[in-house]
């Protein structure tokens, strides 16, 4: 028993150190966001909270036009996540519940192929395509090309295949139409899968960097990631306190989405694990 107690203490110690190591950068970023500029550049560097927090956040908000940045990022993240969910739910449904229709395998493989074509593999032509469509510097470029998702289709397909067959049989006897079955029976069942996909996709789109960097230009569609990069001047001493303030603001939305949906996310993935 004695040995066990010392192990527990050791575990706690280990975890506390790990938590400090992992969280320190974030706490430090927050600390910097409360300092004034002289404190930022003082030597030795300060490890403390300052009293310039309000000023920094106000300055960050105004200078980066943060309201617009947050709106743009949130808008494209929600639209893309929802678009992906709708398209993958419907495709997965078609693949599972309609038997072996001609071309099924080919279509399935076409969707799987998206896995093999990450953006850098097609960035130049996709950029030119956006250009030809007149989509550069618009929300279209940031959302529509990302609506298809192999992960999503596979996630829902796998889930539907585990839904008891009796459910469909019973519904067929009642003479249910396919869309009705999808809407009122399958979708409610796959709630935690939907939430899991939403969380992952929302955060993924929010944090996208390369694509907005090359396709957007004006403040009208600029997203948080790019707005933050623009706060770092190349020709002067960066005001790290203001930049960190903007960074903290910019990370709150994905953090909130994650914290709110955390439970369903873990469930959504754990459920997949069972099979």
């Amino acid at each position: 028993m004695k040995r066990k107690k010392s192990t527990t203490i050791f575990i706690h110690l280990f975890l506390i150190i790990s938590v400090i190591l992992v969280s320190f950068p974030i706490i430090y970023a927050f600390m910097v966001s409360t300092l004034n500029i002289n404190e930022v550049y003082s030597s030795p560097p300060k490890l403390q909270f300052g009293d310039n927090m309000l000023n920094n956040y106000r300055e960050a908000w105004q200078r980066s036009n943060m309201g617009k940045l947050l709106f743009n990022s949130a808008f494209i993240s929600v639209v893309t996540a929802v678009g992906k969910i709708i398209l993958s739910v419907s495709a997965a449904f078609a693949f599972v519940y309609f038997g072996d229709f001609p071309g099924k395998n080919i279509l399935f493989i076409l969707i799987l192929i998206t896995h093999m074509l990450p953006l850098p593999i097609r960035i130049v032509p996709t950029y030119q395509l956006m250009d030809n469509l007149g989509w550069l510097d618009t929300y279209y470029a940031l959302t529509i090309p990302f609506f298809a998702s192999a992960t999503g289709v596979l996630l829902f397909r796998q889930f539907y295949m585990t839904v008891p067959e009796s459910l469909l049989e019973a519904s067929l006897i009642d003479g249910i139409t396919p869309l009705r079955f999808l809407w009122s029976i399958l979708i409610p069942l796959s709630k935690s899968n939907i939430v899991a996909l939403f969380t992952i996709e929302f955060i993924w789109v929010w944090n996208q960097y390369l694509w907005p960097l090359v396709t957007t230009n004006s403040a009208q569609v600029r997203v948080v990631q790019i707005g933050l990069k623009m706060l770092i001047p190349s020709d002067a001493q960066p005001e790290w306190n203001v930049i960190m303030a903007a960074l903290i603001i910019g990370v709150i939305p994905p953090l909130l989405v994650y914290l709110t949906l955390q439970k369903s996310l873990v469930e959504g993935f754990a459920m997949q694990q069972d099979k």
Binding site: Y28, A94, F101, M116, L117, I121, Y209, L210
Partner: protein, 295 residues
């Protein structure tokens, strides 16, 4: 599955799949084929002149020391980052999964790097280790007299992007491991305890076999993500330098495509990256089959 909707609804199946197929062919397959086409040309920045050069772009790439530097650095960078982030996430997940007080608090405090983008992670670590203002570089110098200057030292810069990327990936992997470990039944582990199994034996004999599919899945996903998405870290911090020490393939591709505007040369790089992805995919299918996708 035996029961299905009647044949008269077949049109509906096509209708439901159509949107995905349209997106995939328009924005993924067609541009990828176009990459291959463009890789045989050389064109001017404004696109007003274009000449066919055959496989010259590929020849040049494969004989260019700068490109080999870029490829090797990316592979080493990816391997180290994936190893660090998966192994540390696994250890932390196993430890926090034990029945201890405050496990929940520990878990939530270990996950949050996941919400940060690679660019944000880069900015934070860049400041922490900044040669002039960074608190970490200051203490490193004080304690070891080592000057961690990522602006003029290639090794330091390379280390910096590994640290920032590993930190970000740690949160991602931790989430998946936590989810996977929920399936390891506590009863089984308790039974092993009674048998007097050591923690290490328990891990290798019980836990690991159960979570090895997810580990493999993460290995693949991490490799692709680190290889392709760490662009943000490099762009906000080092822009490939100093002396190309952090010139990872995606950054080089971006520079050639969008700064030097050599679209043909850049497209040839895209095709080489495709070969890399294809190899990963083959490994994936060979060792895990379709199963990996289901996670």
């Amino acid at each position: 599955m035996n029961s299905k909707f009647a044949k008269k609804y077949r049109y509906l199946a096509y209708l439901l799949i159509a949107p995905s197929i349209i997106i995939v062919t328009t924005f993924l397959i067609y541009p990828s084929a176009q990459s291959l086409y463009l890789s045989f040309f050389r064109s001017t920045p404004f696109g007003n002149r274009q000449i066919f050069v055959g496989i010259e772009n590929f020849q040049r790439l494969l004989t260019s020391p700068a490109y080999w530097n870029s490829l090797t650095r990316s592979l080493v960078f990816t391997a180290i980052t994936v190893f660090i982030s998966i192994s540390s996430a696994l250890i932390l997940a196993v430890v926090t999964n034990k029945k201890i007080k405050g496990a929940k608090i520990y878990k939530s405090l270990l996950i949050w790097p996941f919400a940060f983008s690679f660019a944000f992670a880069g900015i934070i670590w860049g400041v922490l280790l900044h040669p002039n203002v960074g608190i970490m570089s200051y203490y490193i110098k004080l304690l070891t007299t080592l000057d961690f200057n990522w602006i003029n030292n290639g090794t330091a810069a390379f280390t910096l992007i590994i640290i920032a990327s590993s930190w970000r990936m740690l949160g991602y992997n931790f989430i998946f491991f936590i989810a996977a470990l929920q399936n390891v039944s506590p009863e089984l582990l308790e039974a092993a305890d009674i048998d007097g199994a050591s923690p290490v034996t328990k891990f290798w004999k019980i836990t690991f076999p159960l979570i090895s599919p997810i580990t493999f899945f993460l290995l693949i996903m991490n490799t692709l993500q680190v290889f392709f998405l760490t662009f943000g870290v490099v762009d906000v911090l080092t822009q490939g330098g100093p002396a190309r020490a952090t010139d990872i393939v995606t950054y080089k591709l971006f520079r050639d495509a969008f700064l030097s505007m050599r679209t043909g040369y850049a497209s040839a790089q895209s095709i080489i990256l495709f070969v890399f992805v294809a190899i990963i995919t083959i490994i994936q299918f060979k060792y895990a089959g379709e199963k990996v996708f289901y996670q």
